[in-house]
Amino acid sequence: MTDPPQFMSAPDERGRFGHFGGRFVPEALIPACLELETAFVDAWSDPSFLAEYHKVLREFAGRPTPVTPLERLSERLGIRLFAKREDLAHTGSHKINNVIGQTLLTKRMGKHRVIAETGAGQHGVATATAAARLGLECTVYMGEVDTVRQALNVFRMELLGATVVPVTSGSRTLKDAVNEAMREWVTCVADTHYCLGSVMGPHPFPWMVREMQSIIGHEASRQLEDLGVGTPDVVVACVGGGSNAAGVFAGFANTTSRLVGIEAAGGSAVGKGSPGVLHGMRSLLIQDEFGQIEEAYSISAGLDYPGIGPEHAYLAESGRAEYFAIGDQDVIPALQLLSELEGIIPALETAHAVAWIAREAGTTIPRGSTVLLNLSGRGDKDVAQVRAILNGES
């Protein structure tokens, strides 16, 4: 008799989740990836490092974040809906969990500078924040299109002492910011850590970032127990690269919970993608018939990515998690729904997950089901864009 499969454990020694993952980077970066893997494995089993990580999360980032019963929306939808409130974490999203871990690791490796990519700006702001706290130099690469869509986040990063570099190559969005950060990393790898913001990239990043986000799921699991809810029937999160989803799924991967990731329709790597190699990983990618990567399109900069983290590709292929897409047109109504019924303005990224729950409640989510929504970020950054859309200006 064999044990049931354990999901979301460590990848194999080549960094593979099934046949996704790996380490597809130029030779110049291989030694840095190996160094990082060794440093992460060492730190993540060191009680003093973990104690420091949890101390900073508690004292600086505001963890644990609460689980909030969404009573009016539950009543409206005929389900029992709970939100894990990552919007209440410092800097306004789950991104802080990962950057606190990685910046502590940067110090531990003896490096004094971090670089990062950002789409919506949340990861860039979080990185700039954690870097400021530890006295690390910080440079953030951001697609030029996104610097316009998220101009206030650019200013936030600058207030925090970071340098923001607009990326003008390719589609000028998140995928190009990743390319540029990788190119820059080659030139400065001796003293600089690349603080990658999602569960993507070359091994060990997908695994390391998931581990550093898994606190979301582990906290939520305990909190739902405390609320007497127990194991939720469904766990839902939005997915760009997939870090908040990986973090919350990690707490429920080996339970009976149905795990659901929601992609933007214009960036749906599971729905429209095929296996390919980009940004250091083999995963599902949106690409044309010749293997050229296509541009993603989404109302939310944070989901504007043509790929998905390799562990999600594996969870999708194995059937352990399901992935669905929500189109731009359903996102603003969902944002309004949560705002008006619950007093929480979610990020546009998060609103995709809200939209799916609202659509499926009473059908594929049976009435009376318990549902955990990972409320990955707050919508402050999106308010100007939402106003423009509602005023018919964009």
Binding site: P26, A32, V186, H279, G291
Partner: protein, 255 residues
């Protein structure tokens, strides 16, 4: 031993330093004329860059050239069709990112290259540890797999990479993407680390922009690869005769 390696070892035995210009295939409608001009000016092999949407190892010049070539509809098939008119006056080596071959199919890609007289391939984002399937596909079609050694490569890796590489070993002169040459580079040290463990021809690339740099790199190694500086000339409107003059300048510096 694969055909590319036979030819490049023979070239070294003659005492000639190899000059390997790099072209972005499909950059202009007459790009094959540029390849011919380079051969006429004394190139010993040519790198055929197959454009990719997300060239992680390339600087601004090759990024811009790749985008222009893709906008013109360049594909692996169109490149191979263009090359059918060329014959094979010197060895041709493909350079591209792994997703192009991954998507086309590994065995099918290697067969397609070989049928177009491309007898080697450089895939900069395919690290040694991920390359077994690709190498197997190339073995079936006599396509040499060329690997890179970087200044950051540790000694144990240099030995394994040099052992796996076929045709030549690509010595990266600096920790940078293509086209940047803000420092003197580390090619001497990198080449020495390869020669300590391998007798394969070793060529220097990444940031070789002037004949003088090529001369210095040639003194340390068995040959040089010239990419971005040449691609920039073509991006800026250079024609076949200016390519010939450019490559001729590097030839004279190496001889």
């Amino acid at each position: 031993m694969k055909s590319l390696e036979v030819q490049l070892r023979h070239l070294r035995d003659t005492g000639r330093k190899a000059l390997v210009p790099y072209f972005v295939a499909g950059l202009t409608p007459d790009w094959v004329r540029h390849v011919e001009a380079a051969v006429h000016a004394g190139a010993d092999a040519v790198e055929i860059g197959i454009p990719f949407s997300d060239p992680m190892m390339d600087g601004v010049v090759i990024q811009a050239a790749a985008m222009r070539a893709l906008e013109a509809g360049t594909t692996l098939d169109s490149i191979c069709a263009d090359l059918a008119a060329l014959g094979s006056p010197v060895p041709m080596i493909a350079m591209t990112y792994f997703n192009i071959f991954h998507h086309y199919g590994l065995e099918r890609s290697a067969g397609k290259l070989r049928a177009s007289n491309i007898i080697g391939a450089i895939v900069p984002d395919l690290a040694l540890e991920e390359a077994a399937d690709w190498k197997q596909a190339c073995d079936a079609s006599d396509v040499a797999t060329v690997f890179l050694v970087a200044p950051s490569t540790t000694a144990d890796r240099v030995a394994r990479i040099a052992h796996a590489s076929e045709g030549f070993v690509y010595a990266s002169a600096r920790m940078a993407v293509t086209g940047r040459a803000s420092d003197a580079g580390e090619s001497g040290r990198v080449v020495a680390s390869i020669r300590a463990v391998s007798d394969l021809p070793t060529y220097v690339g990444i940031g070789i922009t002037t004949p003088q740099q090529a001369r210095e790199a040639g003194e340390q190694s068995d040959g040089v690869i010239v990419g971005s500086a040449l691609v920039k000339l073509i991006l800026d409107g250079g024609d076949a005769s200016s390519v010939e003059a450019f490559v001729g300048g590097f030839r004279r510096a190496l001889d």
